[in-house]
Amino acid sequence: MLLQAFMIDVGTQEVNAYLMADEETGVGLMVDAGGFDPLIVETAVELGIQITHILLTHLHWDHVDALPRYLEHWPRACVIAPAPLESAPEARIVREGDRFEIGPFPFEVLCTAGHTPESVSYYVPSADICFVGDAIFSGSVGGTSSDAQHEEEIHNLKTRILSLPEATELLPGHGPMTTVAIERRANPFLQPGFGHTA
């Protein structure tokens, strides 16, 4: 398995995008498309990766705005998204419990709503990884607009993400990667009474 992370400057912050591919067949996918980085396309070409799918974790601008530019390079890529979006009217819409395969990799969709109502995470059990978008970060959680959304997010994190095997690597939409073990034991927002994101 080949997995590469790209940190793309989108103004005031960096956003992560991921390339994942099967080294034997060259079948690959991209996760999130917030900013266009030609290096991603160059890397796919250099490594002989055929991007057959682009997965979106949620529809905030910093995760989808560059989708049209990537589709120019990969016009036959299937977009998988948790809600309809104008830039990909033929996107396959997924929800909690959906399963699909990309090459040899089985994916399971997990509902991690809270940061946005449609937020999902994509779990790949055979690789012990989970693309979590902006639901959870190293030592933090996605920002929310209300107490109710925060509670919903925490509930979904505890029941969908932190219930995964401890060794599972969590690949977030911003910042360093982390693991279930680290966040379960030390993420301050998952401790009682810590409150919301600042």
């Binding site: 590469q4 912050q13 960096e14 030592g139 360093p176 982390t178 693991t179 680290i182 030390a186 993420n187």
Partner: protein, 177 residues
């Protein structure tokens, strides 16, 4: 900017095997050294990019000038370990014990220090751009002249820590000073 996550190649089972690999100047990129007792060993300058050292005993081990880019060092015991001038961008140190560890001049950009116990560790002149320190013990640590741009310190115990001459805008959220 990119990183790699590749399947491990080497998987030495014992400390002696690791010592033999070090003597033979083997490249340890992507190696799985998790859980081993590597205390006191000399990894200075060794290429360990993408290596997995999760849960290993690294107390007083020497990783000065080593390449630990993307390495997994979560839950290691690394009291007084030497990471001076190491390249450790994207490294994961979450839940590690790093008391009195030496990270001076290390490249720790985008690294994960969530839940670490790192009292009296020295991060002087290190680059911790976009690094994450959350729910961790950083009492008596040194960050003098470090690059703090976009680093986050959240629920961290920073009593007695030194940030003299540090530069860049970091986020300090609910820290203890």
């Amino acid at each position: 900017m990119k990183t790699y996550h590749e399947q491990t190649r080497l998987r030495p089972a014992t400390r002696e095997e690791v010592e033999a690999l070090l003597k033979g100047n083997h490249v340890l990129e992507g190696a799985d050294l998790s859980g081993l007792d590597l205390s006191g060993l000399n990894f200075s300058g060794v290429r360990l990019a993408g290596a997995k050292l999760s849960g290993a005993n690294l107390s007083q081990a020497n990783f000065s000038f080593a390449n630990l880019t993307r390495a997994r060092l979560d839950q290691v015991q690394a009291v007084r370990a030497n990471f001076n001038a190491a390249q450790a961008e994207f490294a994961v140190f979450g839940l590690a014990v790093l008391e009195e560890a030496d990270f001076r001049r290390a490249n720790l950009r985008r690294s994960n220090f969530v839940g670490v116990r790192a009292a009296r560790a020295d991060f002087s002149q290190s680059d911790i751009y976009y690094a994450r320190f959350a729910n961790c013990d950083l009492q008596g640590t040194h960050f003098s002249q470090a690059n703090l741009m976009r680093a986050v310190f959240r629920a961290a115990d920073l009593r007695g820590s030194d940030f003299a001459g540090a530069r860049g805008q970091a986020n300090f959220d609910r820290v203890r000073r």
